[in-house]
Amino acid sequence: MSYEIWIMIVASLVGITCGVIGCFLILRKLAMLADAISHTVLLGIVLAFLISQSMNGLYMLIGAAVVGLFTAMLIQFLNHKGIQEDASIGVVFTFFFAIGVILITVFADSVHLDVDHALMGEIAFVPFDMVEIAFLPPLPKAFIMLMSILILNIILMMLFYKELKITSFDPALAAAIGMPVMFIHYLLMGMVSVSTVASFDSVGAILVVAMLIAPGASAYLLTNKLSHMLCLSAFFGVLAAISGYYVATWIDSSISGSMAMMSGVLFALVFIFSPTKGLLGKKINQKRFRTRTNAT
């Protein structure tokens, strides 16, 4: 398949994977945790590289998942010690990110990572990094990685859908009927870290945060049903990826930056035009209500 198509497919996979997970983060008011984890994943990748001395994707996934979960636990711990939530998030992720950047600069000769890559990704190079597995035609590495994470996420989500739903909307009820609330929390955090790192390498930290939050936020303004929200969010993720790619080629600039920008533009459109919760929708409803009350 052609160069362009692969970039769009990989970016759409990022949109779907992150978009779906992001819905739960928004519903659980954990959006900033997504931001935190997507920054600390850098430290996980650097540590994995320094320990294993290889750029193997699997080690990086493990390193990132470990550091991501550790971030979530540390934030929870500080919170438990009486530090307000935003401050504990802010302290932890800036510290881990700073250490990640320092390690990269100190070991600059041996680390083939540079910070710009971590921020912006190298999605334009995705189609050049092909691997062949068994009987399949050559596929980009990033595609295989994202596809497996997406399938893993979908399986976990189907297994724990009810738990995820109830713990998101009513954690007290979930705890009362004996659901493992903390387990689900850390399961979700694990899914966030793994999805983040799978996406991170190809699209960079900025787009990961944008894809985790913007599609879910747009979907949330259009529906009240969780299953609809998940599908809509995946749809917005794909739309942002494809429109972002065309904008990037049109104005000739950063691909992941344009995709992040388009996810914001899509959100702005929904924010204004959503029939029930948008600015215009609300205005129209108010006017209708007013004319009806005037008439009676």
């Binding site: 931001d35 935003d86 504990s88 800036t94 600039s253 344009s258 992040a260 920008m261 924010f271 600015l279």
Partner: protein
């Protein structure tokens, strides 16, 4: 040691040190208020949102004049802060979602513009990407003087309005009752917060600037319950972090300043959370053990 001694004698280093010291002081003080108003992560979003403003400033003028870049950054930073508050108030989305959304999309726009700037003939040597991680050692002396002057100005304004900010932080209703212009004061505070973030990004970088607002303030919170003391301690911690981070990064070219400032601030935070007199984890343990001993001894005496 000799190297450090020589470095300290260099006039530019001295200015850079004074600049980061004042910056740490100002951000520590404003950060305390932001923390108590639960707005510290807005600082993070504002810092990220400064990037498009910097790029637009550069594109419009075609040269790297710091004051224009900072004006651009202030405009987009304020716009981001306004968007966050508007989204959080006008829709069902919570503030944290709004912060994250604005942060990532503004930063995305910033990256798009940054790639455009780097394609410009004059853009290659613009050094705008040093804004992402900060490079205090590479600042020219006029930039440093601007930073130091702006930080000093922010400090003075904050001290003048200290009583008002205290009131709107702890009891906005009461402030309204007294006839204070609360929304104007809120706007003034937000402007000061944006300004301190904006002047700090050149030294600390857009990604880590939030730490300079949050970490010293939350460390200071461990040492005292009084706002005026907290503000002073936080300012002191911020200043120490700024100075130590700058010293480490000026040892060699290419060492970014921001990460070292953040690590210094976090070490102070860890020391505070462990050893602060009234609330530190280890202090509490020791106190508990001493009380236990005393109790046992008293019981022993009774027996």
């Amino acid at each position: 040691m000799e190297q450090i001694g020589q470095m300290l004698l260099a006039a530019n280093t001295q200015w850079v040190l004074i600049g980061t010291l004042l910056l740490g002081l100002a951000s520590g003080i404003l950060g305390s208020f932001a923390l108590l108003r639960k707005q510290s992560l807005i600082g993070d979003a504002v810092a990220h949102a400064a990037l498009p403003g910097i790029c637009i400033g550069f594109m419009l003028t075609g040269e790297r004049s710091l004051i224009i870049l900072l004006i651009g950054a202030t405009v987009t930073g304020l716009l981001a802060a306004y968007c966050i508050q508007y989204i959080a108030s006008a829709s069902i989305l919570k503030e944290d979602t709004a912060i994250c959304l604005i942060l990532s999309t503004f930063f995305g726009v910033g990256i798009v513009l940054l790639t455009k700037v780097q394609q410009m003939p004059s853009g290659n040597k613009s050094g705008l990407d040093s804004f992402i991680f900060g490079q205090a050692a590479g600042m020219v002396s006029s930039d440093v003087k601007l930073m130091a002057g702006a930080a000093a100005l922010l400090l003075i304004v904050t001290i003048i309005f200290f009583k008002e900010f205290k009131l709107i932080t702890f009891d906005a209703e009461f402030a309204k009752g007294l006839g204070l212009p609360v929304s104007a004061l809120n706007f003034l505070f937000m402007t000061l917060l944006v300004a301190v973030v904006v002047i700090g990004i050149q030294a600390v970088g857009v990604i880590l600037m939030a730490a300079l607002l949050i970490t010293p303030a939350i460390s200071a919170r461990y040492w005292t319950n009084s706002l005026s003391k907290m503000v002073m301690i936080s300012g002191l911690f911020g200043a120490i972090s700024g100075v130590i981070g700058t010293l480490i990064s000026s040892l060699d070219r290419g060492i970014p300043t921001g990460p070292f400032i953040v690590v210094t601030a976090t070490i102070i935070f860890i020391l505070s959370i462990l050893f602060a007199p009234a609330r530190g984890i280890i202090t509490l343990k020791i106190k508990r053990r001493m009380t236990n001993h005393q109790l046992l001894r008293e019981q022993g005496q009774v027996k």
